[in-house]
């Protein structure tokens, strides 16, 4: 009996020790960072610029979904507070819930708008970032500021100085339009009197490939950026369309229909050395490169309905990726490589934007119950935002959304409508 007691006494702690249970907690709620943007004081004659810089800067940061910009009415400006960390009463800012604080000063220097940006960590009570810029416009200055703040928090290059290309359809005209990521500052770089569609950037941002009917049938043309000059790139069979540069800019993948069979082809950047990658009698179309340039996703109707497929860049190992839905199209591989965005028609016969993992085939949804058509996604170069076309407000307009779809903003309100957006590369 005594032996048994001794044994139990000796073993009890060990048994207990061996039994600590572990649970997993995952899927956190990513909460926007609370950021206060203090009113930007202006130098002489720069009042309007300061307002413009502040508004554009706020809009930029709000677009990302990473920040919760505190309502300026929730804090009162303290005129005695300067831009040195020692002059700032950080407790006042933490009391209103700010985790980060942005201050800036905007001045006019001849034709230029100059500004200095300060970013503070409220909890630490320290200045984390200080930058000085001179730009030609207030908007350019604001985008610079926003890029810096975004880069500070995400440790990735900001995307606010990139441009989005889109097609604006007028009466008998097709315009290739470039705009800022907030939909503003739109400029037409090329106006065509025949159908122009499917713009796609060269990785260096100096050219946009379009599919043009200028010679009577669909062909690939290159439009210089920003001068708008046109050069013929590829003409093949009955049609050549939907061309996309490889990530290294050396090859172009496109769809061509030869003898009535639509397939995916590749060619050199000058249009030479055309090779056919698919040969299925069904329709193969809409190629998109993986960011490492080693694979191509495309649409094929070989299973009866259009679905997303993936193959090696040399055409080998073609396999089906999507098995849900029955009308999946316009795939666009994320610059991060982990998702392919595409348009699909769901069981309610509405078009929405979805994501599929090229590795697992798991499908996520970006848009839902927002108009009848949300389509043609294109990734921001950081892979953290998408631009897509929506009809939720009537005419087709562009929406910038995060991949989770819980942050979306209609960024254009064009009277003619916008289509086929292509998000451009990072500014050099």
């Amino acid at each position: 009996m005594r032996k048994l007691l001794v044994a139990v006494a000796l073993l009890a702690p060990a048994l207990a020790l061996a039994q600590r249970q572990y649970i997993d907690v995952g899927s956190p709620d990513f909460r926007p960072l609370a950021l206060a943007v203090a009113n930007f004081p202006a130098g002489p004659g720069a009042q309007a610029d300061a307002v413009d810089v502040q508004q554009t800067f706020r809009d930029d940061l709000a677009l990302t979904g990473f920040f919760d910009l505190l309502d300026p009415r929730s804090f009162l400006a303290d005129a005695s507070e300067g831009t040195t960390a020692s002059s700032i009463r950080f407790t006042r800012w933490s009391d209103v819930g700010a985790e980060g604080l942005v201050k800036a000063v905007v001045k006019r220097e001849g034709p230029l708008v100059a500004g200095e940006l300060h970013l503070y960590d409220v909890r630490a009570g320290r200045e984390m970032l200080y930058r000085v810029y001179r730009e030609r416009t207030a908007r350019a200055l604001a985008h610079r500021f926003a890029d810096d703040v975004l880069q500070y928090y995400t440790r990735e290059p900001g995307i606010f100085r990139t441009r989005i290309a889109a097609i604006r359809k007028g009466k008998g005209t097709w315009e290739l339009v470039l705009m800022d990521v907030d939909g503003k500052g739109a400029e037409v770089i090329r106006r065509e009197n025949t159908i122009a569609m499917l713009p796609s950037w060269r990785p260096d941002g100096r050219e946009i490939l379009i599919t043009s009917y200028r010679s009577g049938k669909p062909e690939i043309w290159g439009i210089g950026v920003p001068d708008g000059t046109a050069r013929p790139v590829i003409s093949l069979g009955d049609l050549a369309s939907g061309a996309v540069y490889s990530p290294d800019g050396r090859s172009i993948a496109f769809t061509a229909s030869v003898d009535g069979n639509s397939d995916v082809y590749v060619a050199g950047a000058d249009g030479s050395g055309i090779r056919r990658l698919t040969s299925d009698p069904a329709t193969d179309t809409s190629p998109t490169w993986s960011p490492d340039g080693r694979r191509i996703a495309f649409v094929s109707s070989r299973s009866g309905n259009p679905h997303i497929y993936v193959m090696n860049a040399d055409g080998t190992d073609q396999r089906r990726l999507t098995f849900k839905g029955n009308y999946n199209q316009t795939p666009r591989w994320s610059p991060r490589g982990d998702q392919i965005a595409f348009t699909a028609r769901d069981e309610r016969k509405v078009f929405d934007v979805f994501l599929v993992s090229p590795e697992t085939g798991k499908i996520g949804r970006v848009t839902q119950d927002q108009g009848r058509t949300n389509e043609e996604p294109s990734w921001a170069p950081n892979g953290r935002l998408l631009v897509l076309v929506t009809d939720r407000g009537g005419r087709q307009q562009l929406v910038v959304a995060n991949p989770a779809g819980d942050r979306q903003r209609v960024v254009t309100s064009d009277a003619s409508g916008m289509a086929a957006p292509a998000w451009g590369p990072l500014a050099p």
């Binding site: 000796l10 060990a14 997993d24 899927s27 956190p28 309610r348 086929a420």
Partner: protein
């Protein structure tokens, strides 16, 4: 010497007991060193999750997914947003394929016929549009899919059996598990940390320590805050002693 007989006999009697004790010690140390370590570092340990499956019909396998919570509608548009069909045939301009893209007018309200199928501009277009509206409505009513064997109060579409209390703890921690959205996707993939909580009988967390930090200060800070803000339910009597002495391990992942 003879007077020591009692003592010499003593050790003889205790000898088996000493053997047992040594064996137990060896056993305990072996158990502690051989069995425990993998359990501590195994971050991929299967979670114990208690989920209640929602009662309902299963969503067909081949359908595209729907989210339980629809995304918020984007900021309201300017007043010029009158639902007008896009002029001109958009099909060739939008879809490079010979596959017809069915388009419908933005608002399928009864007065305006919607061309739901390619070339659907015949005289029966209106009735088909009406059909479609009612079908859509039926689908809309079936927002929440579940499982025929689920329960009406369930909130998951699928689940595995598990311990109820740990399920509640998971739920409580989950509710306060918030991270700054500024942590980049690339960092997110790496983020893992294990903490050990000492849970008092009333559910209060009396100590919090890292068994394994993530190395990302923002993440580790957020975990402390999440635990501090959470309200754990009181452990059931049989678990109280264990949670107060050896604690509960939590693997935080992204």
């Amino acid at each position: 010497m003879t007077g020591e007989s009692a003592l010499t006999r003593g050790p003889d009697r205790l000898w088996p007991l000493v053997l047992v004790s040594v064996a137990l010690h060896v056993g305990v140390f072996a158990a502690a060193f051989l069995v425990r370590p993998p359990a501590i570092v195994d971050l991929d340990q299967k979670p114990i999750v208690a989920k209640l499956i929602r009662l309902g019909e299963k969503r067909p396998e081949q359908w595209l997914p729907r989210r339980d919570v629809p995304p918020p509608e984007a900021a309201p548009r300017a007043p010029d947003a009158v639902p007008v069909p896009i002029p001109g045939p958009p099909a060739p301009a939008q879809k490079p394929v010979a596959l017809p893209a069915p388009k419908v007018t933005p608002k399928p309200t009864p007065p305006r016929p919607a061309s739901a199928t390619p070339g659907g501009k015949g005289s029966d277009a209106l009735s088909r549009a009406m059909d479609k509206v009612s079908k859509d409505k039926k689908l809309a009513e079936k927002e929440r899919w579940g499982d025929p064997s689920g329960v009406s109060g369930g909130d998951a579409t699928d689940a595995s059996e598990g311990d109820r209390y740990l399920g509640l703890v998971t739920q409580a921690l989950q509710a306060s598990y918030r991270l700054p959205a500024t942590i980049s996707e690339q960092e997110r993939a790496q983020l893992k940390a294990t903490v050990v909580l000492t849970v008092e009988p009333d559910g209060r967390v009396s100590t919090f320590r890292f068994e394994k930090r993530s190395g990302n200060a923002a993440f580790d800070q957020a975990l402390e805050r999440a635990v501090r803000e959470s309200r754990l339910p009181p452990p059931p009597p049989e678990l109280r002693q264990r949670f107060r002495t050896i604690g509960l391990g939590v693997n935080f992942k992204v």
